[in-house]
């Protein structure tokens, strides 16, 4: 078929069920990408398009306009079916395999983009000086790191909202816990760069002791001038026993928490297990209460994160 300069051959989203081969002249294909930005490319002699429309009936990805008078060969789906009937069965299987593989690749790309954009989103949020941020601004900044669509970006934000890190409004979001966003980002960064778990990821025993500390502090904690909260050793031991189904608090179980300085003993003691006096010599333990709460929350969120990203993506 011939198409005059300036005429539109087909529109993005159309279902022509046809394949096009440019024989003569140049056409311009324009399309809106994932972020609604218009991209263009030239289609000169020998260029083809519409293969997925022909084989799978998918909508066209481009609006195609003739830049000059052009000659196009159009292959309709009826001709395709006719030609395929003449092919051996295995050739039809090959073609079906190729289209299936294309769909798998597209899906892999979308999922991978979704998962790998999550740290970038955390990075942007962690660096924000404002607690109230326009969604439009987040999406604009994210464009520098990812080609994720607005809808997919919103899905990532919903994950953060589920974790109570942010609260979404119509056009804005409010950062609910910036320290936890930082902690989560740093934990992911550590895992990716150093290929090991960050020290923020606590063992079950560490989590149990800190949970007991939080409970004891809530009931009988003393606020200290440095902003820390102190708990008497006897109260911590009793709470640990209660929470850990009868398990006793020992210096061995406390060792890593003291080494990480998440808990501080008073009077101060060595963190090397062989040097330490018994637990009876420690009057109380103190800690940065907010930091402990955030760490415990991080350890609640972190194991769910990968699954949540895969399921939502």
């Amino acid at each position: 078929m011939n198409i005059e300069e300036g005429k539109i051959l087909c529109m993005q989203g159309d279902h022509p069920h046809s394949f096009y081969i440019v024989k003569k002249g140049t056409l311009v294909a324009s399309f809106k990408d994932e972020q609604n930005e218009i991209q263009t490319k030239n289609l000169g002699p020998g260029s083809t398009f519409g293969e997925m429309s022909l084989v799978e009936g998918e909508p066209l990805e481009y609006t195609v306009r003739a830049e000059e008078d052009c000659e196009i060969e159009v292959i309709p789906q009826s001709l395709y079916h006719e030609a395929m009937e003449e092919q051996p069965l295995w050739m039809q299987s090959v073609l079906s395999f190729l289209t299936k593989r294309n769909h798998i690749a597209q899906e892999n790309k979308r999922k991978k983009e979704f998962i790998t954009t999550f740290p970038s989103l955390l990075f942007i949020l962690s660096k924000s000086s404002d607690k109230l941020i326009y969604l439009k601004n987040i999406k604009n900044e994210l464009k520098n790191f990812s080609s994720l669509s607005s809808l997919e970006t919103y899905k990532l934000l919903l994950i953060l909202q589920d974790f109570r890190l942010i609260r979404l409004q119509a056009e804005t979001l409010t950062i609910e816990n910036e320290n936890l966003i930082n902690l989560l980002y740093e934990t992911l960064r550590h895992r990716a760069i150093y290929k090991s778990a960050s020290h923020n990821i606590l063992s079950i025993i560490e989590q149990a002791i800190l949970t007991a500390f939080v409970k004891a502090a809530g009931e009988k904690g003393e606020h200290q001038p440095n902003g820390f909260v102190a708990v008497k050793t006897t109260d911590l031991a009793a709470q640990t026993k209660h929470s850990m189904h009868g398990m006793s608090l020992t210096m061995r179980s406390l060792e890593t928490l003291l080494q990480k300085r998440l808990l501080q003993a008073s009077p101060e003691t060595s963190t090397k297990i062989n040097d330490v006096a018994g637990l009876e010599n420690i009057e109380k333990f103190s800690a940065d209460f907010d930091k402990i709460l955030n760490l415990l929350e991080l350890n609640r969120i972190y194991p769910q994160l990968d699954k949540k990203l895969v399921v939502s993506g």
Binding site: F19, P88, T99, N102, A105, K109, P119, S120
Partner: protein, 302 residues
Amino acid sequence: MIRGDSRKKLIPPTQLSVKAGFVVYSPQDEEKKIILLNEGELVALDPKVNNKVVFKIRPGNLVGVGSLLEREPIRYVFQASVDSSITVINDECMESELKSLPVWLLAVIKAISARTRRINESIRSAKTANPLAGLATFCKFFKKDEFLQTKALLQEFSWLTKTPMPTASEALKTLIRRKLVVFQGDSSCLTIPNPYLLGIFSDYQKAKDLDKPWHPFNLTLQQKRILVLLSTLENGTSKDATAWIAFFKERNLEISVADWLQMQQFEWFTERANHLLSLDLEKISYFETALKYEQNIKGTVK
């Protein structure tokens, strides 16, 4: 319509009956082929994990398409788990079949393959088309004059954007040459003297990539004078278009309607109710900063 060649020259595929345990295709095989399972069952064994069964292939399914058409390496050993019947399509057979296809059908197959290849390449490639603009954007998020570890910063950027480390290092060198980033002591540490400027630089790079004129460096002398005048006003100063033009005229800065229309594109003013145009000092500051550091942005700084 070009219909392709006659089917007389076709090399037919090989039909085989194989016993259970027979390996039909393995990564060691030199000959590339497609195996179509007609009857029976094949299992895919992973040689890297003690030949663990990874998946099973049922009749009607194929293996080796990527290997034959795209020359991709095959990962698994395919073995018959029961007595099976297979069709083997090797290079010669496929070539003769492809030659017999109508040219357009061959073009369809090639287009689908190329499309998948492009998608797979894009999965592996960096997320930022312009690593220099990407690194500048990344750096703008850090605090002014904060001491940053060079290696850690590059690793973090590389992780977020999948930019290879050597490319990221080259981009950093460019930012250093433009004095947008400054090494401290030896090159193990760096600081960012003006994070805001890095954002502007990134915008400049993006406009260059798109071959679009970048407004701050395309102002006429009169527009520059107006920029200076506007920078002395209060943020949010509002007038309608006629009043603004008259305001400039009173200060010997007469502008044409064309000039005025062009200035609308600079976004120095935001539209308010009653056709009022409100001055956006943030945008004015953006243009001023760009002009002040033009040499750094363009890379002509000494």
